[in-house]
């Protein structure tokens, strides 16, 4: 028994990249403390219990992350293979949608529209939800560790989304990163950030409000531009004497360029100052000053959206590709499993493929990957199909007006890379687009949570 626990603990420590566990290990290694002492650390013991879950009714698929990808995976895995026992794990207690959150910032929908319960999703689609944080996993024993105990899997799906990479805007010190995150959250990773942002913009009494667009493969290419429009629309409606400084780290508007440029000029000429090629190199948090390569700007308040990387869960568990700039996993680009492990899949915004990081992309992709996993269990194959990226961008409010784009991907054997395939772009904003954006989101929530 004791031997088992020891082995278990060692495996867990190997598997887990959690800071807490890692420090415990190195501290013990450094002091030469013996294993028995460590084992008695109550915090660790609770990790080494089996989590309380219903008895598996078939091959168990554990999904890490109940975002757009994980929720869709959970539903479709059960549909495509009713024999699967599906466990969805998320550290949050409820789901809050990022898509449409910019319209919510400008009071076009209420919070109820965005908020949904994991229990509803699990009950309606007959899987199990577990609120816990995944700390690590061991691929040899096929075991996932959480603070509520471990869960054994037959298949593991990692859909933990993204994290900010503050280092890429010159903030290397972790304490400074933390301060920046709390003071000026970007609103792209967790729902508390969104609540803070809404409060900030509704209370802003005037001056310079800084927003930025990161570079690289960031989450939802259109969202920072859309957000600038929604914040400007709000300031305009409330007659706040404010300037929105939109620093774009890219050479030009990355998506719906003509539409956004026209909106900035025609609707928000008095509010938005758009500056391209403005690479942020440092931020003086206390002094409220941002530095770019050639300039410095003072601001009164800000939303700072640093470049992003794949969830640390991937790097910390040793499955990141050494050549991936955003530390994404080393996966098969068509089948989504790790190159050396067909039991572990990576989907959603932490995927390694360069698809646009969007909720719709994650949703359409997850339906396909669920088929891949279901087929794998039956020793079958499914033909690759492209995810779709569908993205609405709100431009004006009261009533809501939006633009839209849908795009597909194709793989070129010549270049060995994915490229955009058929695209349909509507850069004119109108109320039909506004209505469509809400219908789209409602349809997605319906699919993931209710029917």
């Amino acid at each position: 028994m004791k031997e088992n626990t020891d082995l278990e603990r060692r495996r867990f420590l190997q598997a887990s990249g959690v800071a807490l566990a890692a420090t415990t290990v190195s501290a013990n290694v450094a002091t030469g403390a013996d294993n028995n002492e460590m084992c008695q650390a109550p915090a660790l013991n609770s990790l080494l219990r089996k989590a309380t879950l219903p008895r598996p009714r078939g091959a168990r698929v554990v999904i890490v992350g109940g975002g757009w990808s994980g929720l869709t995976m959970a539903k479709y895995l059960r549909l495509f293979n009713p024999g699967f026992d599906v466990i969805l794990i998320d550290r949050q207690s409820a789901f809050v949608s990022f898509p449409i959150s910019n319209s919510w910032l400008a009071d076009q929908v209420d919070l109820d529209f965005l908020s949904h319960s994991f229990f509803d999703a699990a009950n309606n689609h007959d899987y199990h939800f577990m609120q816990a944080t995944v700390l690590g996993f061991d691929r040899e024993t096929r075991r996932v560790y959480t603070e509520k105990g471990f869960v054994d899997y037959d298949y593991l799906v990692l859909a933990p989304g993204i994290e900010y990479d503050y280092g890429r805007i010159g903030i290397e010190d972790t304490e400074a990163q933390n301060l920046l995150f709390h003071r000026y959250p970007g609103g792209f990773v967790s729902s508390s950030e969104l609540l803070t942002i809404k409060r900030k913009i509704h209370r802003f009494s005037g001056g310079t409000f800084l927003l930025n667009v990161p570079n690289g493969d960031f989450r939802c290419t259109a969202a920072p531009y859309e957000r600038a429009c929604m914040v400007a629309a709000l300031f305009k409606r409330q007659r706040v004497r404010a300037k929105i400084l939109l620093l774009d780290m890219n050479a030009e508007i990355r998506i719906k360029k003509a539409g956004f440029a026209r909106a900035f000029a025609e609707l928000y000429g008095d509010y938005i100052e758009y500056l391209s090629s403005s690479e942020i190199t440092n931020i003086d948090i206390e002094g409220r000053r941002v530095e770019t390569e050639f300039d410095e700007y003072d601001f009164d308040d800000a939303i700072i959206y640093p470049p992003v990387r794949a969830s640390r869960l991937i790097e910390d568990n040793g499955i990141a590709s050494p050549i991936s700039p955003q530390k994404a996993a080393n996966t098969d680009p068509f089948r989504y499993h790790l190159l050396d492990d067909e039991r572990v899949y990576v989907t959603g915004d932490s995927r390694s493929q360069p698809f646009s990081k969007g909720g719709h992309t994650a949703h359409s992709e997850a339906q396909y990957v669920a088929e891949v996993v279901a087929a794998h269990a039956l020793d079958k194959e499914v033909r690759w199909r492209s995810p779709q990226t569908m993205c609405f961008s709100a431009v004006d409010i009261d009533p809501l007006r939006a633009m839209s784009i849908i795009t597909y991907y194709k793989f070129s054997d010549k270049t060995g890379e994915f490229a955009f395939d058929r695209t349909h772009l509507i850069e004119r904003w109108d109320t039909q687009g506004g209505q469509a954006s809400l219908a789209w989101a409602e349809g997605m929530y319906r699919d993931m949570f209710y029917s």
């Binding site: 549909l79 359409s364 033909r383 199909r385 492209s386 779709q388 569908m390 839209s404 849908i406 597909y408 058929r422 349909h424 509507i426 039909q432 687009g433 209505q435 469509a436 809400l438 219908a439 789209w440 409602e442 349809g443 997605m444 319906r446 699919d447 209710y450 029917s451």
Partner: protein, 233 residues
């Protein structure tokens, strides 16, 4: 674009619940509504559909979207209304076909009329077994035995009875829908549902393969796959 007026009849079944103290009976009442479709308005309304279905309405050869261009109006209308009511489960499309988004019956009749006039995809996805192969022939036999009476000799369907036109439909899409129906994830008419108990999955694949090779009249096809709907340029 010229304004063309055609008179169409759409049949809607409305369920009326009659409650008595002991039992609740469900009685279908047939209501026939008549609209004169306005193609210009149909084109405008179609823009919301095109945001996903794309302006050509050709579907995808991976089977995720059907070809709806050139489909019969009554078939399109029936599917829209079934999705609107939840009779056909399509959670992501459902909010788009609600009155608040696409409009009332007039708008629906305009948009389905417009879609039915669109030229079809000249290269829809076809099944794996070529014409004259054994599987093709077996699919043909089964088609003639089980399908021809409703869907017609050429898979042309029948507008008046809302029987879908099958010619030109992507093999992948039909296969997907057949699987959903077989697994009872898509509700279909009882005659269709029965077929899934009569025919094996392999039989069905062969039928669908045959159907996917039925020729579409050249006059209904777009000149080539590079054709783009000029209404949305």
């Amino acid at each position: 674009m010229n304004r063309i007026h055609i008179t169409l009849c759409y049949s809607l079944c409305i369920l009326v619940l009659v409650f008595s103290s002991k039992l609740a009976a469900v009685e279908p009442i047939r209501v026939v509504l008549e609209f004169t479709p306005d193609l210009d308005n149909g084109r405008r309304s179609f823009e919301i559909c095109a945001r996903c279905h794309l302006p050509e309405a050709w579907g995808n050869d991976d089977g995720t979207y059907p070809q709806i261009a050139g489909q019969h109006v009554n078939v399109l209308m029936k599917q829209l209304l079934d999705i609107r009511s939840g009779q056909r489960a399509n959670p992501t499309m459902q909010p788009f076909v609600q009155e608040r988004t696409i409009g009332g019956y007039q708008n629906l009749s305009d948009v389905v009329a417009y879609i039915s006039t669109l030229p079809m995809n000249p290269m829809h996805n076809r099944g794996p077994w070529p014409v004259d192969s054994e599987e093709y022939e077996s699919g043909k036999r089964l088609y003639r035995q089980y399908c021809i009476s409703c869907h017609g000799q050429y898979g042309e369907g029948k507008n008046e009875l809302s029987y879908p036109r099958l010619q030109g439909q992507h093999y992948t899409y039909m296969k997907r829908q057949a699987r959903l129906a077989r697994d009872r994830l898509r509700r279909v008419a009882p005659v269709m549902a029965n077929l899934f108990t009569t025919l094996s999955e392999q039989d069905f694949d062969q039928v669908l393969n045959y159907v996917s090779h039925l020729p579409v009249p050249a006059s209904d096809l777009a000149p080539d796959t590079a054709w783009r709907n000029p209404d949305f340029k």
